[in-house]
Every structure is written in structure tokens, then in C-alpha cells.
């Protein structure tokens, strides 16, 4: 199962190394990690997307993260109401006659063209991972020259409903 786990950590030298080293040593399969500043100075927020085989492994992952001295808090937000977003930059082959076609494809995704050259366009798309992946697959036939993704970053919604739907675990 795919899970989204967020950790708040003390922003100390080597903290990322210590955490990724532990994940590697204990054979956790990480799909993406994103790290950045949080609302508190000196505290960073990490978002992990992990593919995990069972509940026991998942419990181990959160416990091993919590055990790290620089880790302040760990939560598995997969089953909560949350917002999860990633950003992708896609450089796609675009010649005169495909240029407007591509413009038409990306419009419903609310993505934007941020660079244009003689034979290519670079598209920026932000959204849930499934939306980003959908756009990528639509653009693939035109020829993707370069692709980069930030990985998912996420947090809880301001209000948690009483009953949480299962949609998250399907789509993230």
C-alpha cells in the first residue's frame, strides 16, 4: 500500500542523511521525499511517499523515524483529510503545428507554459500526483525531452470530517 508520511525535524546538519540512511538500511521503499522549511524557524518538514507491504512494516517505519533524535513528530496522514501536491516541469517537443495542440491539452490542467524555444515548450504543472501523471501521459506521444518532479508535499486540511473517505489511498 502507498502511504504518505510527514515528519517534522530539527534542521540540523546531517539530519536528511541520517533519515535516508535509516530508510535504506531497513529496506523501506521510498517513492519520493520532499524537504523544506516549515512555519517554525529551525524546523523542517519532510514528506515521504512510501510503498509498504503491511501494517507491521508501516508501524516499524513510523517508530524508526520517531526514534531519530532530530525527529519531533511523525504522522501517517494517508487516511486523513489532507492536501497533497507535487510540481512537475515537462519539456516537450513542440513544432509549429503541434504547439497549439499542446496548448489545448494543458489548459484543463491549469498548467502553464514557462519556456518556449524553436523546437520545444516547457510546461509547469502542479497538483495531485494522479493529475500530474495524467498530463504526462497525454504529452508523452509528442516526445518528452526532459522531465523533473519535486515529489509530494502534503499536510492535513484545516478541518477533519467525522468520516473519512477511502479515496486518498487510492489516488495519491
Amino acid at each position: 500500500m502507498r502511504r504518505i508520511i510527514i515528519a517534522t525535524v530539527q534542521d540540523r546538519g546531517g539530519v536528511l542523511n541520517r533519515i535516508t540512511g535509516m530508510l535504506h538500511k531497513r529496506q523501506f521503499n521510498i517513492e519520493s521525499i520532499s524537504v523544506g522549511a516549515s512555519e517554525v524557524e529551525g524546523v523542517s518538514k519532510m514528506t515521504f511517499v512510501v510503498e509498504i507491504s503491511d501494517r507491521q512494516k508501516l508501524e516499524q517505519l513510523t517508530k524508526q523515524l520517531n526514534k531519530q533524535i532530530d525527529v519531533l513528530k511523525v504522522s501517517d496522514i494517508t487516511d486523513k483529510a489532507m492536501v497533497a501536491r507535487e510540481l512537475a516541469l515537462i519539456k516537450v517537443v513542440a513544432t509549429g503545428h503541434t504547439r497549439s495542440e499542446i496548448q489545448g491539452i494543458i489548459a484543463p490542467f491549469r498548467s502553464s507554459v514557462i519556456d518556449v524555444s524553436k523546437d520545444s515548450m516547457t510546461i509547469q504543472v502542479t497538483g495531485r500526483p494522479d493529475k500530474v501523471d495524467a498530463l504526462i501521459s497525454l504529452l508523452r506521444p509528442y516526445g518528452i525531452k526532459e522531465l523533473t518532479k519535486t515529489g509530494v508535499t502534503a499536510f492535513l486540511r484545516g478541518q477533519q470530517p467525522d468520516q473519512v473517505t477511502e479515496i486518498n489511498s487510492m489516488t495519491i
Partner: protein, 573 residues
Amino acid sequence: MKVDASHEVEVKGKLVTGADLLIKTLIDANVDTVFGYPGGAVLPIYDALYRNDTPFEHVLSRHEQGSIHAAEGYARVTGKPGVVIATSGPGATNLITGITDAMMDSLPLVIFTGQVAKNVIGTDAFQEADVMGITTPITKYNYQVNEIADLPRIVKEAFHIATTGRPGPVVVDIPKNISANITLDDYEDDFYLPGYQPTINPNPLQIIKLAEALSRAERPLLLAGAGTLFADAAQELKEFAEAYQLPVTNTLLGLGSFPGSNELSLGMAGMHGTYAANMAIYECDLLINIGARFDDRLTGNLNHFAPNAKIAHIDIDPAEIGKNIETHIPVVADAKKALLGLLKAKIEMQDHKEWMDKLQHNKKDYPLWYERSDTLLSPQWLIEQVYNVSKGEAVVTTDVGQHQMWAAQFYTFDKPNNWVTSGGLGTMGFGFPAAIGAQLGRPDDLVISIVGDGGFQMTLQELSIVKQRNLPVKIIIVNNEALGMVRQWQESFYEERYSESLLSENPDFVKLAESYGVRGVRVDKEAEVIQTLEDIFAYDGPVVADFRVVRNTCVYPMIAPGKGIQEMVGVKK
């Protein structure tokens, strides 16, 4: 012209180097022994050791690995943190085995490594190694000191982290400019570690749950690991076991936490554990693990481990609970606090006399066994004599392998903290330097290092220390001219293809000892063993005793790899 800086500057404190500050923080931490080896990047620290009147001793090893294993031995028998100093680059990398060993066996160490000066870090400077990168996966925590003002706080944090919660090694990497530069000795060392708050006291509801499970159990069993020793809980464990007549088995590292000669003791469990202990685990209906981590050498095949039991697990490290074995009653706590909680609970037990009778029968019918020989010594018999002559009161250290298992089987520990062995990592070359640290930590006790002829050759250069300080460590080489456990596995699982495991070209250990100025003896006849042991234990100085044992003896009983805990072989002669 000479200038005295303290007259020139109007300040509160006086001017000192970073290294002086380090010495001061070590004094603040009540350090009494430091194990180390000098080198370029720690010259300022060694200069400060020379200049300052330190209340602690520095013990010079002959290899950094000797320093760190000595610090481990010291930590294991005293309960205090072992302190190590090594230089940058090769000095630090020579510590790696010991740091990993301490991490696996949860030993509190604080290790100071020198580092090249900050302005050349990252340039592949002479004797530069990425100590932070290398030691991150093998430490509880590590630091590189970037500002001299941080040094006192970091040292204080390092001691705190190493010794609290589940103990472990902490590395402090000190660039040369930090130890050499001048600062004021007026410093702040308050610290705050919001991400590190170990749970000491058990959740009372979990204690009640455990007490309820015990009141329903018909076949209860206690499994005591090293966590009971770190928590200083041997007394509480004994009271608890005796109050409810609970049988106790130990892990390798937990030996001594419960008196081995007590009627309730089933001895060690696991790969080379007793029949009674392993069958008790297989058949029990409630297993209460106190401070052990369900290591694979204990459990064997997980599918057959305590298959009918409710599992309760008391551990200070929550990540150990549920890691290998599904746990029904988790208790995150210090072992002593949890046992005190259980002692307060009034538990109405089921009648479990039938279970106790069965275990006693197993103990009687399937004791550990061995065969004597007419030629060389039987290694197990030898360990029994070591036990008898030392009256079971010695501190015993070992390496890893056959001699280690025989020592665990035939030297019965009735008191805690007398057993020093490399369990998790299984480090050859550990036993002898560990004995040096143990002897320094417990100067009035008899310290015996039982080692193999292979392992001893990995760290024997430390004979220099025992000679120099006349440390009366007794080194007992169980010499079978082989890497015995490797040879045993090759015999059992590789059709007797003894690939590179026979040591026919061993040195003459007696002459070798004598060349260091240490007394050496060799014994190959049973008739001489007891007299020799009495003699060397009474001798006021170090001894290397080369005991020639039967070469092809195997350690039994044994659970073969992949087999269940009930599938022991060699349970009877």
C-alpha cells in the same frame, strides 16, 4: 616580551583553548578513564591532557580498535559511559568495528574524533575522512563541532544521549581549529532536545493488562535480556520471578540478570541454548520479554517461536516492540520501573505447578553435556574448571564463536554485570581489550578473558597495556588451532570442506606473551588444569594461558539455521 593575556583583557573567565574546554567538560561529566590514541588532528587535545591536571586517566592502547573495545568492556561492567579519543581519518575509521558493536549491544560510549581544520574539510586533506557520513548509521547520534562556543553543550548532550533511554554510542567530531583556537572558559552548556524524550515510566493500563494476562496464564515464562542489566533491575526481576514462581530464561547478553543457579533459571535460550529453555519458549502460553530484542539467534525460525503464546514485551525502545515478533501486550518503559509496577500489582495466579514440574524435569533430563578426552582438554570441561576455581565470581569477557558459547553455557553467572561479550555484532578480537576496560573499571575483581586462538590474534597487541599497567587480566586461550565455529559449520553444512578455517601456523603464545614481558603458560593435560588455574588466578599480574583443547568439538545443542526453536539437535550425548 611575554604577554599574559589575562591581564590584557577585562573578562569574566580566562582564555583557554577549545581542547582545554573539552577537558573541563569531561571533568564535569565525572569521567574517570579515557581510552585513546593520539594523532595529528587531536594534538591540541593531547597537549591539553598534558598541560592540565586531569582527575581522570588516559589509557594508551596500541590500536584504536583496542581503545574502543576497552571502553565497551568498561561501560558494560561499570554502567558508566566509556570515553574514547582518536585522531581523524585512519584513527576514526579504526574505531568503526567497535562503534558498530556498541550500537548493536546498546553500550553507552562517547567517542571524540579529531577532524581536519574546518577550512580544509571537503578538500580530501591529509587524514581527512567523512566521519559524520561513515558513523551516521552506526551511532545513536553524532555531531561535528562547528563553533567553539557549541562544544560544551554538545559534549553534555552527547553524554546525555549515550547514557539515557536505550544506551548507545555518540560520536563528537572535533575539527582541529576548534580544539586549537582560543576562547573564554565562561560557557553555556544548557541543552534542550525536544525530539528525544525517552519513556521511562510504563503506562499503568499496560501493566494492568500484563498482570491480567499473567493471572490467566497456565504456562508463563520470563525472558530477560540486557535491558534488565542496563536498568539495574536484577533485584526486581528476582523478586518478581520468586513472588509468582515464574521460570526465567536469559538471552546471551542477559546472562547474570537472573541468578543462573537459581532453581527458576532455565539457562540461556536460542541457537545454543538449553533444551529446557527452548522448549519452554515453544510451549509457554505467556512469554514476558523484559529488555530483549527477539534477535534471530534467539528466535530461530519465527514461525515456530512461542507459537501458542501471548507475547508481552517490555522495552525502553518502542521501535523494538513488534519489530520481529507480533506483540500483544507492549510496555514501553525502563525494565526496573515496569517490574516495580508489576510487583505492586496483586496478581492471583493460576496453579501452574504442572508446568513448573515439566520444566524441572527437562532441566534434569536434558542438561548441557560434553565428552571428555584422553588426549587434549575438553573445552567445556575447561570452562567448568574456570568457573569452579574462580568460584563463579569473576568478570568474564569473550570474543565470538565456540569458546563464547561454551563460556555462556558452562560459566554460570549469579550476579549482574560480570559477563562481557560481543553479542549482536559478533566481533572477533573484542574479548581481550574488553577485559582491559573491565579490569580498569573494576580493579578489585578477577577479570578473565576467555578467547579463541583466532580472535586473540586480532587484538593481541594490547598486551603492551596490561604489561605497562600490570593489569592482572587472565587470558585463557581455548586453543583448538581453528576458527572453531566456522569449522563447525563447515563440518555440519558444507560437507567438511574446511576452507581457510584451520590455523595450523599459530604463534607460540607462551613465547609471544613473554616477549611482551607477560607471563605465559601452556597446558594440554587435564591433570594440570586446576593447579594452573589456581596458580594464575592468584598471581598478581597478567597471564596468557594457552589451553590446548580437542580440535573437532562442536557446540551443542544447536538449532540449525532456518529451523524452529523446538528442532534442536545434539540435546543428548
